[in-house]
Symmetry: none
Subunit: 416 residues, 2 copies
């Protein structure tokens, strides 16, 4: 089944709001096996809306619209659909009663405009709105289906999940299941080279998605029920894991920081961080997650050289001799963090995030990371500069490398 | 001038990425007086791309595309435009040299695919790409203009601002100028109530935009030249500032952290942070900005009670008596941070970000913030919980309040 998404609202064309509805619907439709071939957004203008809707229906089996279902005279999607489908608007008494009840509870008077929301084209399948007054509906004719949803995401998203997706499943001949394999430490093209033959397959399929500094591989299968879909997926996921080995930090695990927190809690270990160029970003990413307090002891953002000495006990002589961005300082930062935090593990990060501060010997993008467990200290040197990689990118990837060292250590006591 | 925006990329239709380009361009085009009548997104499919582009050009004077300019065989926007405009692709030697130079610096070999990026339709006006290898271009014929931009926002956005917007201004009959007034510490409806009469005006206009926990007021004027636009704006901006007073932390200043960094550098003062519930977010926001190293001495992310004592010297007895989330601990954290950082100013933040950890006496959303300058210590208690405000929101707003205390102190030595 081929679909298009048509979003209605002048505020989208003015750039006042981000059109998150198109993405949400695309993502959900791909999960139920509906292919989306086009997104369109038009303003609250009857002539332009009508022609966009007519064009979409001429190309696709299914057109899903969002917006233009409200009570005001700007809200015209329903009238235009009724017209295009030759289906006159009829009052739907249960909807009118439910709208009247809402207004009674709010102590507001029901106007003629609000009553408009209880009219639907003849033959429409009505979709309840639990979070607002405008119901949606589906209408089919001559093999074409149109599905009208409200514009506000907090109304549209639950209506789609609870009402529209089950309705659409009747057009689908099975279910779609997918698993995400998260890889860190390999680029998208290198991952493709390792897995090219697996990516040729159509069902189950394997597709790479770029995430900042990571590769997300999505394995997807379509089958008549979820057990069969899962049994198609299992060998593919296993084979990918076998090939990529430790580059895969998890399946369906959300993020590197989620995986690290899970491992820390699992091992009952606590970590202390010492961050220079990442300036608190690593701590921020870990503490984005509820429960981080049981695994992150503390972090010292030692941005100045003095503070590296004062807070972490890195000798001034070492900084003077090797520079603040050096293997030696990273290792002493990791040990200092572990000591001041009385933690099981210490991590140190020092580098040059740019755009300024680089020298020929120590260019922007040079980052040293160290991890120590009180027995050994491991070290990693990164050179992250390249066109299009800005300060934000260098900081993000540096924090990711630090988290990945922790992940590898926690998995096998061997971080690099 | 009427425009449409056409975004190219299968990842948009699959819902893998949010199409932020359409919104960015709509917002920017409205500022230079270009009306946008439609957004379209299609996949990397030559036939569907060609028909979408042809349709857009039949309706609009200007079509701006994003995506499909890369080196792979999927990237076809340029070829299709050349075909539709009957303008054969020609090699542009300076672009080839610049691409070759980039590859030389990276130590990578230049492939035939990469050379493809140096070809442009005859008569094209080339737009430089400072953040990637794919240049954009503009091409006009018979009163229709097409403008091709790359897909990645970090390449597209600067190319639009630096190269495309000045190019498009030749088609406009006037200039649009705007100033952003940044408010912190007031909600959108309260701001509207203070400024309602000013928001009635059409030229200059004043419109509010919500930002997480802040209000952005944009004053916009259209005139025949920028001097006249500015002279329309000046009285409006002055009047808004007069009414909102210290709630306005800056005009066109980017963000609260930008303003704080600017003030710190201006005063030659350094700050040290002690963060608990914000977990490094305040330090992260300040160090997002180049130059932060001259103003941020250090930050201690003291997530555990022990680390508050060990790193910051907050007596265990105070934590036991008042709890880690208390005025007393926030003030001692601020003083401890200032002391260990040997900084001019110390800031302490402690609170309950949730979703767990709240009690009836100390609910989720309770946050204490303190600022000390070695002479006095100021304190602020926040109650941030309300429906729809999650952990991320509470953390962000807590960090914003800490930054705003710094801002107010640095402006007038009086932070609350």
């Amino acid at each position: 089944m081929d679909a298009e998404i048509l979003c209605v609202g002048t505020e989208i064309l003015l750039g006042n709001i981000q059109n998150t509805n198109a993405r949400f619907l695309s993502e959900q439709l791909s999960l139920i096996g509906v292919n989306v071939f086009r997104h369109t957004a038009v303003g609250d203008n009857p002539a332009r809306l009508k022609s966009a809707l007519g064009e979409a229906l001429s190309r696709a089996d299914l057109v899903i619209t969002t917006g233009g279902l409200g009570p005001t005279c700007d809200d015209l999607t329903k009238e235009i659909v009724a017209d295009l489908f030759g289906a006159p608007l009829k009052l739907h008494a249960p909807t009118l009663m439910s709208i009247a009840e809402t207004f009674r509870q709010l102590g507001r008077e029901l106007t003629e405009n609000n009553k408009k929301q209880a009219y639907f084209p003849e033959g429409a399948h009505i979709l309840q709105n639990r979070y607002g007054t405008a119901p949606g509906f589906a209408l089919s004719k001559d093999g074409k289906t149109v599905l009208l949803l409200p514009g506000p995401p907090r109304e549209m998203e639950p209506m789609f999940m609870e009402e529209a997706a089950p309705y659409l499943s009747r057009f689908s001949d099975g279910v779609i299941r997918s698993h995400d394999l998260h890889l860190f430490g390999i680029g998208e093209s290198a991952a493709e080279a390792m897995l090219r033959d697996l990516m040729q397959s159509a069902n189950p399929s394997l597709a790479p998605y770029a995430k900042t500094g990571e590769v997300l591989l999505r394995a997807t299968a379509k089958a008549e029920n979820s057990e069969k879909a899962e049994s198609l997926l299992r060998p593919l996921v296993d084979e990918v894991r076998r090939r990529v080995g430790r580059l895969c930090y998890g399946v369906d695990c959300g993020s590197l920081e989620c995986r690290v927190l899970e491992l820390l809690l699992d091992r009952g270990m606590r970590v202390a961080l010492a961050e220079s160029c990442t300036g608190g970003l690593t701590a921020k990413r870990l503490t984005d997650l509820p429960g981080a307090s049981r695994a992150l002891e503390c972090a010292a953002v030692t941005y100045s050289n003095d503070s590296k000495t004062r807070l972490l006990g890195v000798p001034k002589s070492v900084i003077d001799r090797y520079g603040a961005v050096s293997r030696q300082v990273a290792c002493l930062m990791a040990r200092g963090a572990r000591r001041i935090g009385k933690a099981h593990l210490g991590v140190g990060i020092t580098g040059i995030a740019g755009p300024d501060g680089g020298t020929p010997g120590k260019p922007v993008g040079l980052v040293h990371i160290a991890l120590c467990d009180g027995r050994l200290t491991w070290h990693k040197e990164l050179r992250l500069a390249s066109p299009g990689r800005d300060r934000a990118y260098i900081r993000h990837i540096s924090a990711s490398h630090a988290l990945d060292m922790l992940r590898r250590y926690l998995e096998k006591s061997e971080p690099v």
